[in-house]
């Protein structure tokens, strides 16, 4: 009731849009996970190449496969952020 007294409909919908953008920014924090995980995987791949340089092609393909799998949770966060920005209307 206090909320209805303080804000009219237009102000409330502007506040809702602003909060949706803030939520999208929070959802982008999900990018930390793949960043750390893929960096670790690339480091291990480089170690493996230095130990065995003739397997470079196989190691690179398997690294790319593992990186694409680890990217999934980062993309979950991206899709939530995109949904909040473009699809959440009043």
């Amino acid at each position: 009731m206090l909320f209805e007294m303080l804000f009219d409909v237009e102000t409330a919908s502007i506040i809702a849009r602003g909060l949706a953008f803030a939520g999208a920014g929070l959802a982008a924090i999900a990018g930390i996970g793949p960043g750390i995980g893929e960096g670790y995987a690339a480091g291990k791949a480089l170690e493996a190449i230095s130990r065995n340089p003739e397997l470079e092609g196989t190691i690179r393909s398997n690294m790319i496969l593992g990186i694409a799998l680890s990217e999934t949770t980062g993309i979950y966060g991206l899709v939530i952020a995109l949904l909040l920005i473009f699809v959440a209307r009043a």
Binding site: L65, A68, L69, T72, I75, V79, L82, F86
Partner: protein, 246 residues
């Protein structure tokens, strides 16, 4: 009293016009791939196995043989029956990702399409598990203890959702980032070129967007197809018992 009577044809037309554009591009790509497959199939049936293969026969042999070999390599020899499904996915998915570059709306950008692919893999996995385990299939819900029943039920759709969301997220991210780049370069071009009178044509985009298209539409497409196929083969072949036990 104004009653808006619509004929059946009007209702059908209204429904068809309100369908998202991705459905139509999906139908177009499916028809193109189907015609391609039927033509090559006919040529392979009539070809002489001992003569030198023509282009179409060689193409068919390479694609089908390659994917069957890869499937049986990763999943074991009993996966041969699933090779047609993986072949269809391997031809359809890259084309539908790349259609974002060809001015068609990418069908993978509509969540129903990757969801159907993930559901086919999911249903195949559980059908194979049921076929080989008969009624002990239901023991997976109460393992290791009976109190784990709610947790196991919640884990049930996790594989399908993550498979579908990976593809959908990659396609959606590419589409939205590229549309934002086109919009931004359009605004800049309008500001800069309105003095000359050519503000309506986007001159800056061809310098920036090819690299983005190459990463999101080409590289991302092939990687996501490979990941989807690898995971499908792994999920389905994990349910097939090894030949030592059977």
């Amino acid at each position: 009293m104004n009653i808006n009577w619509l004929s059946f044809g009007d209702m059908v037309t209204q429904y068809l016009l309100e369908l998202p554009a991705e459905i139509y591009s999906s139908i177009l790509i499916a028809i193109a791939v189907g015609v391609f497959a039927i033509v090559i199939g006919n040529k392979m049936k009539k070809a002489d196995p001992l003569a030198r293969p023509s282009t179409a026969v060689l193409l068919g042999e390479t694609i089908v043989g390659g994917i069957e070999g890869w499937t049986m390599n990763m999943g074991g020899p009993r996966m041969k029956g699933f090779a047609p499904y993986f072949c269809a996915v391997a031809i359809y998915l890259p084309i539908s990702f790349i259609s974002g570059m060809l001015a068609l709306p990418s069908p993978v950008g509509y969540y129903a399409v990757p969801l159907i692919f993930a559901l086919v893999t999911f249903i195949s996995t559980h059908a194979v598990a049921f076929k080989y385990q008969k009624w002990s299939y239901f023991k997976r819900f109460t393992s290791p203890f009976a109190v784990f029943l709610p947790i196991n039920i919640l884990t049930f759709p996790a594989n399908a959702i993550s498979l579908s969301f990976r593809m959908f997220g990659n396609a959606l991210a590419g589409t939205i980032i590229l549309s934002m780049v086109y919009w931004a370069t359009g605004n800049i071009t309008e500001m800069l070129f309105n003095l000359v009178g050519l503000g309506n044509f986007n001159f800056i985009a061809p310098f920036i967007t090819p690299f983005l298209h190459a990463y999101f539409d080409l590289f991302g497409a092939l990687i996501q197809t490979l990941v989807f196929l690898s995971l499908s083969v792994l999920f389905i072949s994990a349910e097939i018992p090894s030949e030592v036990d059977a």
